[in-house]
């Protein structure tokens, strides 16, 4: 039976990715001066598992890296080497390399930077070989104790597939000087290898790629005759058998500890495993061998029935489903919601006394539909820890680079939001975090001078507020400087006045191309600034707010809708058309007095709302519709706000408040100016959703 290993790849990829993530998390938490033994063990195990898996499933490049990584980790956990900051850095880098290798295997590409792998391996190997000479001398082999000098090994391979050999040679080259002596075709190769590795380590490395049967390793010249005869002889030191080579078949990591009498029957044993002599359990083997076929084994015979009752794998509690399937489900539920709305609208006109049962059923349907919708939406919900988890690393790297001390605190990691939003929020959040680290939190000296703890705190907080999710990025740094922002704004030609409120001043940093950093660093301040963050978040239907207090810190608050698929909207009528205005942009609706509406010469109209003049936009003229009225004092003005700017929209009347299912206009038709999407109303008609950001911008022009 041949087993197709590729069926296990996906599990391995997932598992390795999890191991890498947990390794990174643990590394970042590690206290360098007093590392926790359990954590070190856990890190070691993660590397070890990746090594075991990658070796088994044939991803030998990853095996090579994890092998060297594991060696160093092993020394640290055994206390043979002291943990240092540089080591953590290298471990993290090695983790990144492994991640890249993993991704390359996953996507089937071959895009891992060889030089990067080599340099990480070289640093790891160098750290491992530091001052460890006495530590490994306990190994009974004569060459095992690595001196500070390199040991020369002679290696000969036979019948090794070319691809494997190339892989192996690359691994070896990373660990020492390699000199090919003879290449006699037929996949035979002998070479000289100078390395600081111990023989044990070398063998371990080699056996991950090729079977030890295919290689001869010696510290002296290899006798060609020996190679021709058989390819083992380095596992002689059998701990259980001082006399006589009891374990003649032992090689390739498979061995049996058997009594001499058993030797014969064991001699045909295959390579790759071993039994301990007279160890419990071996009698059974004798039995097996005597009876050849499956005979009843033990008095305590297994009861096959109970196998079925054996506890199921704990991982069976969840299933993996493709996102498309979930999206399709959400789409269908959306259609169902629309159908339900149609039904509700139709039945609204029937006689309740005659159709009581029907009306009850429709009400029941509405409840069920809403529950179903909520449950289906919750499938796409993911905890925000998926995004937050990347920040310990970001904060650490950036803080190190800037020479700042920063502690990251995350609150509300379990807060859930739509998967689509999770993916989109990652970049803006990273930008905000980098900004806080770069411009917000001061250097330790400045902080001490200001009487603060030299270690700054960066807090990421997520929570639900109504139908929104609120994410805060706050730091306890120097805060924004009003003077500097105003000066910068003047320099950039942005109209400002000294009488602006703080809130208005802070909003200036969201203006395109605005950067207050005195020196542009490579961490942030590359011109693509807060304006991009703001645009991205508004693209998700969210809003950004900023609050800052000089000397005590800055907080950026992001408000996002829980999901991208449903929107709370106000439906308004203009002529025979119905439009939807997203509810979170609406401030108020009013009917102005005639004298409050003024016409500015050839610039359109403005409306005076309690002393504030707002630009007035008539929806009917925007979309060329024949309205019921063009007179603002007879229609309704909806005051909307976006980017801190307000505008008044003139509509005929307000129809009602709905939850609408968003249907993309771009995928079904094309992008239309002033329209963000469409939806289907209860009566089956299509209503367009107005794009508030675009409308306000148009109004201010």
């Amino acid at each position: 039976m041949t087993v197709d290993m590729s069926q296990f790849y996906e599990v391995f990829f997932e598992e390795a990715a999890e191991h890498l993530a947990s390794m990174e998390g643990l590394l970042l938490k590690l206290d360098i001066d007093a590392p926790d033994a359990d954590e070190l063990n856990a890190i070691f195990r993660a590397a070890h598992s990746i090594k075991g898996g990658s070796g088994t499933f044939g991803f030998t490049d990853m095996t090579g890296v994890t092998h060297i990584l594991e060696n160093l980790l092993d020394k640290i956990r055994k206390g043979e080497l002291a943990l240092r900051q540089e080591m953590i850095d290298v471990f993290l880098e090695a983790g990144d390399v492994l991640k890249a290798q993993l991704d390359a295997h996953r996507s089937g590409g071959e895009s891992v930077d060889e030089a990067r792998i080599a340099s990480v391996c070289a640093v790891l190997a160098k750290m491992t070989s530091e001052e460890t000479a006495p530590a490994t001398s306990s190994t009974p082999r004569q060459n095992a104790a690595p001196s500070a000098d390199k040991t020369r090994f002679h290696l000969a391979f036979k019948r090794v597939a070319k691809s494997k050999l190339e892989n192996l040679l690359r691994e070896l080259a990373e660990n020492g000087d390699l000199k090919v002596q003879e290449e006699s075709g037929n996949e035979h190769l002998s070479l000289m290898f100078d390395t600081t590795m111990s023989e044990t380590d070398l063998l371990e490395l080699i056996q991950y790629v090729v079977s030890l049967k295919q290689v001869v390793l010696a510290t002296g010249e290899i006798d060609p005759a020996e190679f021709a005869r058989d390819a083992f002889g380095f596992f002689e030191g059998n701990p259980g058998a001082p006399e006589a080579p009891l374990v003649a078949e032992e090689d390739d990591g498979f061995g049996l500890f058997v009594s001499p009498a058993e030797l014969k029957s064991q001699q045909e044993a295959d390579d790759g495993f071993g039994l301990f002599e007279d160890a419990p359990g071996t009698e059974q083997i004798k039995q097996v061998e005597a009876t050849a076929d499956a005979a009843p084994i033990k008095p305590a015979a297994p009861t096959p029935k109970s196998t079925a009752a054996a506890p199921a794998n704990t991982e069976g509690a969840s299933i993996r489903v493709s996102v498309e399937k979930v999206d399709q489900l959400i789409n269908l539920v959306g259609e169902l919601v629309i159908t339900q709305a149609m039904l509700a609208q139709t039945t609204a006109n029937v006689d309740p006394t005659l159709y009581e049962v029907l009306l009850n059923s429709v009400a029941q349907l509405e409840r069920n539909t809403r529950d179903l919708q909520e449950s289906v939406m919750s499938i796409r919900m993911m905890p925000i820890s998926f995004v937050f988890s990347r920040f310990p690393r970001v904060v650490r790297d950036v803080a190190n680079k800037l020479g700042k001390q920063v502690e990251l605190r995350t609150i509300g990691e379990g807060t859930e939001l739509d998967k689509g939003l999770i993916e989109k929020i990652a970049d803006p959040l990273t930008h905000l975090v980098r900004n806080s680290l770069d411009h917000g939190i001061e250097s330790p000296e400045k902080r001490i001078a200001a009487g603060k703890d030299p270690k700054g705190t960066l807090t990421l907080r997520a929570s639900h507020q109504g139908g929104n999710i609120v994410i805060e990025v706050s730091d306890d740094g120097g805060g924004l400087s009003r003077e500097r922002i105003l000066a910068k704004a003047k320099e950039k030609g942005i109209p400002v006045s000294d009488s602006m409120t703080d809130q208005e001043v802070w909003l200036l940093i969201f203006a395109p191309g605005f950067s207050t950093a005195e020196v542009v660093t490579d961490v942030s301040g590359r011109g693509v600034g807060m304006d991009v963050v703001k645009r991205n978040i508004e693209g998700m239907g969210g809003r950004v707010e900023l609050d800052s207090k000089t000397g005590t810190g800055t907080t950026v608050t992001i408000r996002l809708p829980l999901t991208l698929a449903i929107l709370d909207g106000m439906s308004v009528a203009v002529g025979n058309e119905v439009f939807i205005i997203p509810l979170n942009y609406i401030i108020e609706s009013l009917q102005p007095a005639e004298h409050d509406v003024k016409t500015v010469a050839s610039e359109g109209r403005v409306v005076n709302v309690r002393g504030e003049y707002l630009p007035l936009m008539a929806v009917h003229s925007l979309f060329n519709i024949k309205p019921k009225t063009t007179d603002p004092s007879k229609g309704i003005l909806v005051i909307i706000e976006s980017d801190g700017n307000k505008a008044a929209l003139l509509v005929d009347e307000l129809v009602g408040q709905h939850q609408v299912v968003i249907k993309s206009l771009e995928t079904n038709f094309r992008k239309v100016r002033g329209i963000s999407a469409a939806t289907i109303m209860g009566d089956g008609k299509v209503a367009l959703i107005l794009d508030m950001v675009a409308l306000v911008r148009m109004a201010r022009k």
């Binding site: 039976m1 087993v3 195990r45 371990e204 498979f254």
Partner: protein, 121 residues
């Protein structure tokens, strides 16, 4: 009557591979995610063979073997250590703990099957 095997490994991919291979060869396989889980499952029902990893959270392979050997029912059940370390230290530890034998990772499914067949038929 199919023989039952307990496969103990913290790596899901290895576990799956081992289970798939052995089930394909007609054995019943119960998986355990670490030494502790393995011990509990071993206590709940008898097995013909135990395959265990060495490096695992909660309880490592050597401890598991020692604990199993302390149970009368498992006094002579074959136990194989699946290990990435083929060093003498591991071997003497394994032997001392009472393991029947060892199998070095990485191994291919065929080798696993051959070894298991050899041990329990």
């Amino acid at each position: 009557m199919a023989k039952t095997i307990l496969a103990v490994d913290d790596s899901a991919s290895i576990r799956q591979m081992v289970a798939f291979t052995l089930k394909g060869a007609g054995y019943e396989v119960v998986e355990a995610v670490d030494g502790e889980d393995g011990l509990n499952k071993a206590k709940s029902k008898p097995f013909n063979l135990v395959l265990t990893d060495q490096n695992m959270p909660k309880m490592d392979g050597i401890t598991l073997i020692k604990s199993l050997r302390a149970i009368p029912q498992y006094k002579s059940t074959p136990i194989l250590v699946l290990t990435t370390e083929a060093g003498d230290t591991m071997k003497s530890q394994g032997k001392a703990a009472g393991a029947t034998g060892w199998l070095v990772k990485p191994f291919d499914p065929q080798k696993l099957m051959d070894v298991v067949k050899k041990v329990i038929g």
